[in-house]
Symmetry: C3
Subunit: 294 residues, 3 copies
């Protein structure tokens, strides 16, 4: 029997809630969806304050309110720091805000909307040029002391940006984009740093936002051209192969799903049983870059 404290912070696959508002599920269906994810071994749910135009956390929270016993079986990740353009909120130009007041207000709003007493992991969503690392770290420490947040991390931060905040408060992860169609994190030091420090990254858009399946640009066509027969040879779906390609990285990443279909979660989990050969991994890399390794 799982208890909240016994669960690892991140399940191998993480369920991304980004598009939950588009799934059009009523509360009972949301509860059932969460239960099915948990049954698949996906116990971490990735949120952000702004997902679904600020609505997703409330949708998820309504399910937790309806089925409170779910809470102790899961880990909740959320993010803050982006202020979307919004007439209602009086924001004319989208920007970032990592001020102590904003981070505290968003954390407390997330707690309310999610109907939980503690967030397991909160990430700074984007690197804020105006981040005062000392002030932010003090806010992290205070919210931790208050029991409102267990762990902290960042998303989309460069090596130097990560090093700055991590020097003030230990960060658990950097959530970054990686897919067979988006290789930047392999070369810009992000994943080298993650592996060096032992901070397993979270991976967003592991399927290239769907471009892997339907993109007609040259890169997508090349990548699909090698991945489709490879998936058939391995007896897995194209999506499973993409997840396996990410899971093969030695920084031990946690891919985040985007799908509302339980089958989509199942395809991600299936990748945990696939270990790509180095040659298969580089065959996909070679198709993506359009040239062989040097």
């Amino acid at each position: 029997m799982h208890t909240e404290h016994a669960l690892p912070l991140l399940s191998p696959i993480v369920a991304g809630m980004w598009r939950m508002a588009e799934w059009n599920l009523d509360v009972a269906a949301r509860v059932r969806w969460i239960e099915q994810a948990l049954e698949l071994g996906i116990h971490t749910f990735d949120h952000a304050d702004i997902y679904g135009n600020h609505e997703v956390e409330s949708l998820f929270g309504a399910a937790l309110k309806a089925a409170p016993s779910l809470r102790e079986r899961m880990r909740i990740v959320t993010k803050c720091g982006i202020r979307l353009t919004s007439a209602q909120r009086g924001v004319a130009v989208q920007h970032y805000d990592t001020s102590p007041a904003h981070v505290r207000a968003q954390v407390e709003a997330s707690l309310r909307k999610l109907h939980v007493e503690r967030l397991d992991l909160v990430l700074i969503h984007r690197p804020d040029y105006l981040m005062d690392a000392t002030a932010l770290a003090e806010t992290f420490a205070a919210l931790t002391d208050e029991g409102k947040v267990a762990h902290w991390g960042v998303s989309n931060h460069t090596v130097d940006q990560f090093a700055l905040l991590d020097a003030r408060h230990a960060l658990r992860t950097n959530q970054v984009e990686l897919s067979p169609l988006h290789l930047a994190a392999l070369d810009d030091g992000t994943l080298d740093q993650a592996q060096r420090l032992g901070r397993r990254p979270m991976i967003w858009s592991p399927l290239g936002g769907g471009r892997l399946f339907t993109g007609e640009d040259a890169q997508a066509v090349r990548v699909r051209g090698v991945m489709q027969p490879m998936a058939e040879r391995l007896g897995v779906s194209l999506a499973t192969l993409a997840y396996a390609w990410i899971l093969r990285h030695p920084s031990r990443p946690h891919p985040i799903t985007g799908s509302g279909r339980i089958e989509g979660l199942r395809e991600a989990v299936a990748a945990l049983d696939v270990t790509l050969s180095a040659e298969d991994w580089y065959t996909i890399w070679t198709a993506s870059t359009g040239h062989p390794v040097p």
Copy 2:
């Protein structure tokens, strides 16, 4: 009453002497100019051996000789390491020189030209590919021991270049370019490193070399288009707003003025009373890059 030792190394705004030779001030006017800067709270004066074709330090030194009591009210920064093309000096190709002999010779020349016994801060002007960090650090230590230089720093150094020399001798600052029209230091790690290490940067060309006011390129037009009405709303000049934009950065930068007009100094100092909102700051960033934040 100020004393040399009680003054901080860098005043919030630093007076840049780069163009002093063009101001056509006689000695008495130079003394008066310095006094007015001091009265505005600008007690740090930024030089380089090469400014004004090697003449600026001497012009400033003549003022100090005429009014020696100024010295204890100020901090003097200078730089060395560039060898300008010069038939007279036998330099056919402009290059860098951070050899112990050259740095020592330039420091001693700066002391003579400025009519002072000690330089408060000396910067290596540009990153020299041929810099032997150990030998240079030994020279720093020797000149410090001899009482000729109080502190050391660099200018225009990358993160790795700064880390190299800083590992041998603690550097006080990295003087870099930043303005609403020049954003590189925000993204290349320079300011992240400065904040992480607590080494407040100095900022050159905070007004984009005048392009902010008169540039007809698309970027300058966009930036002026948002800054002009913002300055009016805040009740400050365009220049003051540009300084406030820089001062808003959490690395706590020291902008360097370029103007010979006392009014130009006053516009910089006025920025110390302006605190931009994050949205205003990002509105300028957005106009400069031509796209919203991700």
Copy 3:
């Protein structure tokens, strides 16, 4: 009289064996070639498992078998980690492999082919995205304990890639490309890191792969245009000047020759007696970039 243990790991100039298979030397000629290199003070020989389509180590090893007393007068460097496309080896797509099994197998093959009991330095040839630094470092330690490899390093690794593996097992060097026609390592932090950590780099392609002598592209023409008269003024060959340009770098690089001609080795060694002035060094840099230093 030299002994293996008294020799420095790397002689100032290192003999590159990359093209040895093309030199068409019989065993006796290979022995003589090695003796001549040693007589010139070049006691380090740079190999890789894949050089000459996997044949060079065997050619060199046959010479060592024929003249076993050479071994204690030299240091042997080799590399592994690249899997070339090869029908025979069942590799359809060129890729990298730094798995413990592959590294161990290649080290043991190099020992057999070279007819030696220990490799003095083994480098990971290219940065492998799939490198598990902990597992690789354990393999390094095991092979060191077994007496098969004395020291470890890497080649073509970025600053972050070097930092990752170096955090698990101390690396002796990063072998990178540098020449008057290829300046990237000067700017990307590689040589700053090398100097900071005191890990003298090895330099491949110091003559730009021959482009320095015969290239008709604008950069090669510009560089030759300043180097040819400079070499004449200094009384050295163009090749010697190129080696001297590299040796002038404060990271204290070890250039690797590529030539099979003993005269080619002599031209490299001659550079040890040349110390370029900073102005000469930057004159070449300026010709290479096509613009003066800032």
